[in-house]
Each structure stands twice: as C-alpha cells, then as structure tokens.
C-alpha cells in the first residue's frame, strides 16, 4: 500500500506550525528591543560626540544619512556624520561629531573595524580619538608620525600609521562631502537659532 507522503510528514508539518508560531512570538516580543539596541549603537553616541546635545534627528540627502544634534530646546547644536572607508585590514566605520557651524570637530567614534588587535585597533582608544578634538573641519587633516605640530595635523599611532591615515582620509572625505551638501543647500544649516 502506497502511503501518502503528506500524511507521512504530518509531524514535520505540525512541528513547522509550532515552530513558526513560536518564532513569530519571539519576533514580536524582541524586535523592538533589538531595534532599540541597533539604534542606540549610533544615536547613543550623539551626546558624547556633540556635547550639550540630547537627541538627534535623521537627515537623509540622496543616499546619505546625517544626524542633526539637538539640545533639549530643539536647537541645532551640532552634527553627526557617519562615514566609512577602507582601513588596513577591512572597512572602518566612523561617526564624526561637528559643532553647529560644521567648522570644528567635536569628537569621533569608531563604530566598527577589524584592524589588527594591539596595533591598528588602537584607533578605538580614547587617546587616539582625542587627537581629533577641536581640529578644523574645513581644512583637510594630515598625519604626522612624530607629534602633531600644526593645527590640522594628527599624530599617528605608533606602529599603525596606515590605520591612522585611513581614519584621517575617511574623515576628510566625509567632511568634504558634508560641506558640499551644506553649501548647496541640500541641508538646512544650523547653528544660528
């Protein structure tokens, strides 16, 4: 007697139904939290990158995304520019904080990188990131290996010049593009309430 394969597989079908619904439940229960985690990864940095900001507002220009940092009163106090580019080993993803007039860097944050531990991954350290504080955003930055002298110079990490240069290049390119958007009026400038 030939058995019906569909009937034969009733267990599989029943299990699929059970699993499907439990997954749906998990999805429903956890999705908001996961989304929040993801968002937090970026937006949670805004107050660090732009002091006095309390929240951020997404600004989409073409395929680019920027964040306008707002203080409690809703006044634009700065910008957060996401940027990415090739590092020594793999892609480096950054957030760059700017002041309201987009003329000074107020901080950078490394979202993701796969540089060599102990060497290139020092770009995530506070010590390195602090070297970008209060640097001009309208002049291209450059890397010095033996201590920064001029205002637009960043001191490289010992043993990780390539990673340092990559970060600087990513910052330069992103800021140039952002400045272009500002100038062209694609983004409503902030700073003057």
């Amino acid at each position: 007697m030939k058995r019906n394969p569909i009937l034969d597989a009733w267990l599989v079908i029943a299990l699929s139904a059970g699993f499907g619904s439990s997954l749906a439940a998990v999805q429903a229960a956890l999705k908001p939290r996961i989304e929040a985690n993801k968002l937090c990864d970026t937006l949670g940095q805004v107050p660090v990158l732009v002091t006095s900001a309390t929240r951020a507002e997404k600004v989409v220009v073409g395929d680019r995304v920027y964040y306008r940092a707002l203080d409690a009163a809703g006044v634009t106090v700065g910008w957060v520019v996401p940027a990415s580019g090739q590092g020594f080993a793999d892609k480096i993803e950054l957030l760059i904080g700017l002041d309201a007039t987009a003329s000074t860097i107020t901080g950078i944050y490394v979202l993701d990188q796969k540089e060599t531990p102990g060497l290139g991954d020092n770009i995530t350290t506070e010590a390195f990131r602090r070297r970008f504080l209060r640097k001009p955003a309208d002049v291209p930055l450059s890397v010095r290996k033996d201590g920064a002298a001029a205002a637009h110079e960043i001191e490289a990490i010992t043993g990780a010049t390539i990673s340092s240069e990559s970060v600087v290049a990513i910052v330069n390119a992103a800021l140039r593009q952002f400045a272009g958007q500002l100038r062209s009026g694609a983004i409503r400038p902030g700073g003057i309430p």
Binding site: D8, V12, S22, L23, V26, L30, R33, I34, N37, P117
Partner: protein, 216 residues
C-alpha cells in the same frame, strides 16, 4: 531504547571529559576556534549551545516515538534551526555587544556537528531525563574546552581574563614593552589553530600517560 546503557548521571559526566566533544571527538571545531579569543565569547557561545542543545535534545526525546526514520534528520534540523534563531534573537536583545562580536557563529550552531550528533546518538533513543543530562554534560564539556582555549588565548593575547566584563588583568598594567608584551597572534586565527593543536596534544598526552600508569 536500551535501559541498561549509561545512567543519566554517567552520561552527564562522560560528556565533560571522557567523551568531550571538542577534545576527544574533535567535533564543533569551527565555533571553538572562532569565539575563543576572549572568555566572554567562550562563555556566551557555551550558553547558546547549552540552550540549543538542551531544548533540542529534550524536544527530540519527547517526540521520539513519533519519529519516522527517513524524516529524522529533517526534524532534527528544523528543531535546531528554530532554537538557534531564538537564541540568536535573545542575544541580540539582551547581550547586543556579544551578539555583534560572535556574528555569524551563532547561526552556524545550526550546522554544529555536536548537536546533530547528540540528537542522533542519544536523544532520539533515550528518555527525557537521560537526554537532558546528556545535553548538559556535552554542553559543559564543550564549555570546558572553550574556556580552556579562551583562557590561554586571552591571557597570552591580551594579558587579561574576562577583560571586558570583569576587567581582570593578569599582566600588570604599565609593564614596559621592553620587558614583556602580549602575544597578539593568539587573538588572531593562527593563534587559535596553534593553541587548539597544542591543547589537543596535551590532552592526548595526558590520557596516554594516565592509561600507561593504570596498566603499569
């Protein structure tokens, strides 16, 4: 089926050393290598495997009378994939950092040989209690291997132990680079392979020695 096989307690103990999945059976090598550059990774992975293996073993054991031989593997896979998805979402919700660090290695648990092997060898033939103890024993054995490897790698590679969660340093802070430096290679792929090779060698050596002692 066989009630005169190992007792649940024996199964539990066996999984930890004599039949350790990684060190004795050389199964599940990929996650073992991939997540052991920090203790945190090792512990999280162990937790995920513990969760998936326990749930899958228990469920499979429960439905074991209903299993058709030719659909067996399909059912196992379905079960495992579901629990892995749940584990993955739980991690993303509650341990977002670790979820990002472990990346694809959590979903890869689906194809982890240990779990299919336990479903096949044990859970589909044994009552729930045995299957549960087996799952716990194997997971702990897996965890033991992972932690052993991660300890070596994190201490040599970073000079810390549970550095991210607990911040314990093994090498003193501010040790001069001229005196000693952590071995970065241990955190990278080559170090993983080499450390596991030596760990396997050490375990085999110790086992052979113990056996020789017993015989002598």
């Amino acid at each position: 089926m066989s009630s005169d096989g190992p007792t649940p307690a024996e199964r539990f103990l066996r999984g930890i050393l004599p039949e350790n999945p990684v060190l004795r059976q050389v199964l599940g090598i990929c996650p073992t290598l991939a997540v052991t550059n920090t203790m945190e990774g090792a512990v999280t992975m162990t937790g995920a495997v513990l969760f998936v293996l326990t749930c899958a073993n228990v469920l499979v054991s429960l439905i074991r009378p209903l299993l058709k031989p030719h659909l067996r593997i399909l059912v196992f896979t379905l079960t495992i994939a579901t629990f892995v998805t749940i584990a993955d979402r739980l991690l993303a919700a509650f341990l977002y950092d670790m979820s990002r660090q472990l990346g694809p290695y959590i979903p890869l648990i689906i194809v982890n040989c240990i779990i299919i092997a336990r479903c096949e060898i044990c859970a589909s033939k044994q009552p729930v209690r045995t299957a549960l103890m087996d799952a716990l024993g194997q997971s702990l054995g897996f965890g033991l291997a992972l932690c052993a490897l991660a300890s070596v790698r994190e201490i040599l590679g970073f000079g810390t132990w549970f550095g991210k969660w607990l911040g314990w340093r093994v090498l003193p802070v501010g040790l001069s680079e001229r005196v000693w430096a952590p071995w970065t290679v241990m955190i990278l792929p080559p170090g993983a392979f080499i450390a596991l090779a030596l760990l396997l060698g050490a375990v085999n050596w110790a086992t052979a020695r113990a056996r020789a002692r017993k015989e002598a």
